[in-house]
Amino acid sequence: MKKLNKYTILTALSVLLAASPCRANEDEGALESYNRAMFTFNSVADHYVIKPLAKGYRAVTTDFIRERVRNFYANLKEPASVINHTLQGNVGDSGVSAGRFLVNSTLGLLGTFDVASGWGLHNNKTGFDKTLAKWCVPDGPFIILPLIGPSTPRAAVGLAADTVADPTYWASYYTTFSKDWQKYSFYYGLTALGFVSVREANIELLDNLTANSVDPYSTIKSAYIQRRLKIDACAGSEPKPQEASYDFDFDDFED
């Protein structure tokens, strides 16, 4: 049943993606009221649950441990990179990711140490979102997802697909627990810790942003959309430099 849910979400997102030919831009139209409401919901959840957990996690761990945890989660993303580099036609990069996963999972003690970088196998992650971008699948509008935050339909599909490529997802599926829900409890626990680890790394950034912005929603939306332009390099087309569009505006306001 749990597995079915995941595919249902994936299918629903694909439908949403197909129905939204436009690209993410700052003019959201009708979506804005939904996005702002979800942003508020996420902010409240963050304030009362996620941020306190992140602060608690920081209080009981050292920098050294937190780095090991971040490395552990980064290593779990390597199999998705192996697959997606191949889908993007970069077989060499795919080999690098495979090598990194093998070396770091073993000599790097389950990925907690990045031994492979020292061997010249440098981190070069990719995911299904970038594969879709390369295949010229449009990004769709800017959306705020529950708990996950800023996204687009294409980014959300990418995230769901990369999750399925996570080895711990399959490890928990094939472990022989008696009850169905127990199969995934290990995976959900790991996912929750990963979530808290990411939030911990961003405590100062988000505090600074909310303290100094009069409209954090607009600030995050603008930064997210600008960031997306960087990965939106459709194969065979010329990448559009971001500067081109706003050079004009700079001149426009010059006396």
Binding site: N124, V214, K230, Q242, D247
Partner: protein, 197 residues
Amino acid sequence: MKKLFAVFASVLFLSFQAHADINPNKAEAFVKSVTNTGIEELINADVPEAEKKARFTKLFNQDLDLDFIGKFVLGRYWRTATAKQRADFIDVYRKLNIQTWSERFNEFKGKHFEFVGTEKSKSPDQIFVNTQVPMEEGAPAVVKWRVKETDNTLRIVDIIIENVSLAQTSRSEYTSYIQKSPQGIDGLIKDLRAKLK
């Protein structure tokens, strides 16, 4: 006729001078000196926080063209703003930026900039100086500095970190705010002042 030609030629020469492209080497040397000062006198310096903030304020006011950035950031509202609103906005925007960035020095500890060339801008008096910052994990962060030359003085008018332009982001935040605020620009200035500590 000869005189007319001379006047015409000098006007042409002057206008050519005014639109002479900004020198890439000069622009790169300028950003290098700004980042070096920032790293040596702020991030790595062993001085009290108050002294760091004073040094940062000086560097910020001297090397960033806040009047120009402020104009861009207010977007179409700059045109309708009164002289007082413009001055008040630039003042509070300057203070808020100094506050925002001086809280974040420590994040740059141990980092350095590698200079990887320049890129032309559509405006002849502006140029992008490209740098990258090696990170502990993953690919280096790409940081572009938009430099503008006014009366032979170089100043930074935007910093683009991993494709995110600080000027563009502020502009989205403020124009969206003004649109929704019943008090318009005055409301924005008032609420920005409330953010100052």
